[in-house]
């Protein structure tokens, strides 16, 4: 059997393809697992739980790039298929604020400058994402484009010729004096909403934002990984467990490299609790896949693959996956 080094301890870059899902030991009779539970429980700090059908979510939908009716229908389809969708009311409805109630289990992004946020979002979201992650636009800027602002301003798409310049997004809440103020913001969100409170951040800012988020008592952190170093997920998970002790917050992962069920299983084994499926969702909303595969069929196939890989690792729950279910082939290790 290939000898493994502890996951995350390898100082070298490890791509997802470098890892292999380990098959169970074949030294005694084991009944095959044919019923895998793919549901994902998000335990909240107050003892409640949010149950999600799948550990998959759409982190940063570019809602402004499609008509609002199409966005709403697509979001409903995804939610029905079990994917947690991120949206604030204004992105999926052009109604007045009071009627801009977009339900289904969804995540709502509370940006530093509260762009697009309305009070109803506190009531209708299952998860509130306090966004400290910096997302670059097509021009490489951390900014909001014209159409995004029009959507948030509740202006009809027909007015998109109106001159609204793109503007820089705030990268830090303007009312905070320091990261220590995160605890007050999280408490504030908890008073205004029953939702789980997550903080999103970039892996590059992990070393100070993860401890601050844990001190603030968040229910989860969403980490955006820019490169293809899979072992970073394990290091983040280790940091979370080291800082938080016996009640660690969730680790949700956004990685452009995690695009198929086998890789998602590897992410879960590395310590992630849920994985972003933005590439698929974006392509379905705007790209060539929109006319071909149906979402339901695709998600059914994902369910089958997730179940298959999980069972093949010898466990019946996604939450049972851990780094013991992965190994780096010895040839790869010796080459590093």
């Amino acid at each position: 059997m290939a000898k493994s080094i502890p996951i995350g301890d390898n100082p070298m870059t490890e791509r997802f393809d470098d890892y292999q899902l380990r098959l169970p030991r074949c030294d005694h009779f084991v009944r095959a697992i044919d019923d895998v539970n793919l549901q994902h429980q998000v335990p909240l700090r107050d003892g409640r739980e949010v149950t999600l059908p799948l550990p998959l979510f759409w982190f940063d939908p570019p809602w402004q790039d499609a008509p609002v009716e199409r966005c709403l229908a697509f979001a409903h389809q995804l939610a029905a298929a079990g994917i947690t969708v991120s949206a604030i009311g204004r992105e999926l409805s052009q109604q007045d604020d009071d009627q801009a109630a977009v339900f289904f289990p969804r995540m709502a992004t509370h940006r530093c400058d509260r762009a697009g946020w309305v009070a109803q979002d506190f009531e209708n979201a299952a998860i509130i994402e306090l966004r400290l992650a910096l997302i670059r636009d097509r021009d490489g800027r951390v900014a909001y484009d014209t159409r995004q602002q029009l959507r948030w301003a509740n202006a009809p798409d027909a007015e998109s010729d109106q001159v609204i310049a793109s503007r820089n997004a705030m990268s830090f809440p303007p009312e905070w004096d320091s990261l220590d103020d995160m605890i007050h913001k999280v408490a504030n969100l908890r008073k205004l909403s029953q939702a789980a409170v997550f903080v999103s951040l970039d892996a590059a800012n992990e070393q100070w934002l993860v401890p601050a988020a844990i001190r603030a008592g968040v229910d989860g952190v969403i980490v955006v990984y820019q490169g293809d170093d899979a072992s970073l997920i394990a290091r983040t998970a280790q940091r979370i467990h080291a800082e938080a002790g016996d009640k660690p917050p969730q680790l949700w992962v956004v990685s452009t490299q995690a695009t198929d069920p086998q890789t998602w299983i590897k992410c879960l084994a590395l310590g992630a609790d849920a994985i972003a499926v933005d590439a698929f969702c974006n392509e379905h909303l705007f790209g060539s896949k929109a006319a071909n595969d149906s979402i339901e069929q695709t998600v059914l196939r994902w369910r089958a693959e997730l179940s298959g890989y999980t069972a093949s690792c010898g466990v019946s729950q996604l939450s049972e996956l851990n780094d013991q279910h992965l190994h780096l082939p010895s040839a790869l290790q010796s080459s590093k």
Binding site: A119, R167, M170, E175, W176
Partner: protein, 252 residues
């Protein structure tokens, strides 16, 4: 000899130290719905007056109030007080913390003390006033409403704003204003510096009238003529390039 009218007696007294946020909100609902003493003032319907005791710097209190109730808070409040307020009118006798009036939607809050960082952050409507000093990033990401600071304000006031009105009775810190906005800033004192792309200009007649009304409404003593306007340079250039001004002496 003129006699000063006696202060209005509060309908009720509630304590922040004894009631939870949810209990307070429930009491406001009951008070407003059961109120027989609703006053009709010249500005419209005034809600019942409630005195809030036990204020000692609590964070995230009196938020998202959607009832037409008038509050007199006796003491300081902490961070995020009166966030997402929709209808309440409040006077606070004391200082307040950071992010007070976040996402403010309507009603009014007048702080008879100092305010911390980000007073009125992302406010969308209504009126906020601080009668002392305000910290950094006053009215950051503001999209509407009016915000007054009688004293000095810190750095980056108005940053990220899209609209709304800021009135600063004292001095402003560095980088005042947001060039990518339709925000109007009236400044009486001096700004340490303006944000890049912002310019200072005298008030127009229409601004004097508007500011005069705003000052009266906010119960701030002062003459509109003492203020200057801080506007995006591009907006100022556009105003100046118009063939005729707002008051055209050659209109005949």
């Amino acid at each position: 000899m003129s006699t000063k009218p006696a202060p209005e007696a509060a309908t009720l007294r509630l304590s922040l130290a004894e009631l939870t946020e949810a209990q307070l909100r429930q009491r406001f609902v009951e008070i407003v719905e059961g109120s027989q003493a609703t006053l009709i003032g010249k500005d419209g319907v005034l809600g019942p007056l409630v005195e809030i005791t036990g204020a000692s710097g609590q964070h995230s209190v009196l938020m998202a109030l959607d009832r037409n109730v008038r509050l007199h808070v006796l003491g300081p409040l902490g961070h995020y007080a009166f966030a997402y307020n929709l209808a309440a009118d409040a006077r606070i006798d004391g200082n307040v913390g950071n992010g007070v009036g976040e996402g403010f939607r309507g009603g009014s809050v007048r702080v008879r003390g100092d305010a911390g960082t980000g007073f009125g952050v992302a406010m969308r409507g209504g009126t906020l006033a601080v009668y002392g000093q305000a910290g950094d990033r006053l009215a950051a990401a503001m999209t509407g409403g009016e915000i007054f600071a009688r004293g000095n304000v810190g750095a980056d006031a108005g940053i990220g704003a899209i609209g709304g009105t800021i009135v600063i009775g004292g001095d402003a810190g560095p980088r005042l204003g947001e060039p990518q906005s339709n925000q109007i800033i009236f400044l009486r004192g001096k700004a340490q510096s303006l944000a890049s792309g912002m310019s200072e200009t005298p008030l127009r007649k229409r601004d004097e009238l508007r500011l005069g009304l705003l000052l009266i409404n906010a119960s701030i003593r002062g003459v509109a003529k003492e203020f200057r306007r801080i506007v995006p340079t591009a907006q100022l250039d556009a105003e100046r390039s118009r063939k005729h001004g707002e008051v055209d002496p050659n209109w005949r």
